[in-house]
Amino acid sequence: MKRPFSGNWKVALWRLWHGGIVGSGVVAYLTADEDFFFMHQFSGYLFSGLVAARLVAAVLARGKGPLALRRPAKPDAEALSGRGPLIRLVMPWMAAIMLLGFALAGYSGIAADWFKPMEGLHESLAEAAPWLVAGHLALVLGLLWRPRKGLGALLGAGLSRLGRSASVLGRRMGVALGAVALASGLGLALPDPAAAGSAQDAVMADLLARAQAADPAVTAFDPARGEALYLSRNTVDATKPSCSSCHTPDPRNQGEHVKTGRAIDPMAVSANPDRVSDLGQLDKRFSRDCPAVLGRDCTATEQGDFAAFLLSR
């Protein structure tokens, strides 16, 4: 195999970087489990630092040498025909997509380290990483691998007898596979709003059925009444006069338990897609929080209004 770059200190630096990003990335991915938090934290910061270092190096290289990153270009006719240097077309795109994906995964992790509600986003972004790596491997093998010895040579010779078109086809298939893996990696990273919506619809339907069983006159819930309940001030317990004492006046913000200081994730569904998705969880908290603040249970209609308010924000 021909070396992709001739050997000099810049190449050595690049190899060091590549080893570091592989190592820290693999370690960070495998230790995402809470049990190895410090390893995850350390390798995640190292990984993010290396992504940033790569961009800095590319800027310093000013478009020259092995450390430069080329701007992804639109495919031209020559490259598409399979005769031109496919590698020059594909590599910049691959590098750009990978660096973007890795930067999102790494920096969302750092954000989550300081601001807990970011954890969900970080998890879904990081799940894209193995796909990006799979795409990268497929592309690099497809573009650079030239069998020379042994079984590979036999296969290669056999293939070359099938003619140049076959090898172009093979390489294109490798590239296509790689591109699909990269694209699905990016696709995975995007949250799936449809899946979130249906759980909430089911909960709202249950709440409505309950409210109608208690009072047949109820036809729909009113977010404005829910908001009024959320902000109302009460006198049952001076330490927690309002729902907003713990949940903060703006439900999109992270709250804090008034007694223990424990952070409470945002209540608005727009800021926290898990809200209003589990009737059991709602019931449990209504049965505790309503008596604690109002000195009585919330009615079925109040519960529905409150949930509608969370959904509307």
């Binding site: 080893g19 570091g20 592989v22 190592g23 410090f38 390798s43 190292l46 200081g261 604690a292």
Partner: protein, 156 residues
């Protein structure tokens, strides 16, 4: 494939580097709660406290009085209460709490924050000082120990 070999070797090197802090901190670790149900239900209003902080009899009395839980209502369905009790009691440990006994009827609930060892480690944190630093309660472990939920307490 020299390039590949070097990459793998460097990867292994940085993996070792990444592992070092874990080994260094391993000794002081207090096993955090690992049971998902306990993590969820006992981690809502404060960090889910490690089972090793209280004795089995203390956990039993905490769990038998969830409706009047240090002034809050933390009640749960019976099935869940039983499952959590079983987990906590099975995982009490030696950090434990001599000086905190199980409470019998009429006595206040046991607090590991009143155990000799805990009180000694945190003797400088008077209520005044906590208020000055904007910390609501000494039970907000993560306010000072950022790794508390992973079991690390000597990192401040």
């Amino acid at each position: 494939m020299k390039l590949l070999r070097e990459t793998v070797m460097l990867g292994a090197l940085s993996a070792t580097l990444a592992g070092a802090p874990l080994v260094a901190q391993g000794e002081e670790r207090i096993m955090p709660v690992t049971d998902p149900l306990t993590l969820k239900e006992c981690g809502e209003c404060h960090m889910a406290f490690p089972p090793s902080l209280l004795s089995a009899s203390s956990w039993r009395s905490v769990m038998a009085n969830l409706d009047d839980h240090y002034g809050d209502n933390a009640s749960l369905p019976e099935k869940e209460t039983a499952a959590i009790t079983a987990y906590l009691v099975a995982n009490t440990g030696r950090w434990g709490s001599p000086g905190v006994s199980g409470s019998s009827a009429g006595q206040p609930l046991p607090r590991f924050t009143e155990s000799q060892r805990f009180a000694h480690e945190h003797r400088r944190f008077t209520p005044d000082r906590l208020a000055r630093e904007g910390i609501k309660s000494i039970v907000d472990c993560v306010a000072c120990h950022r790794g508390a939920e992973q079991g690390y307490y000597d990192d401040d």
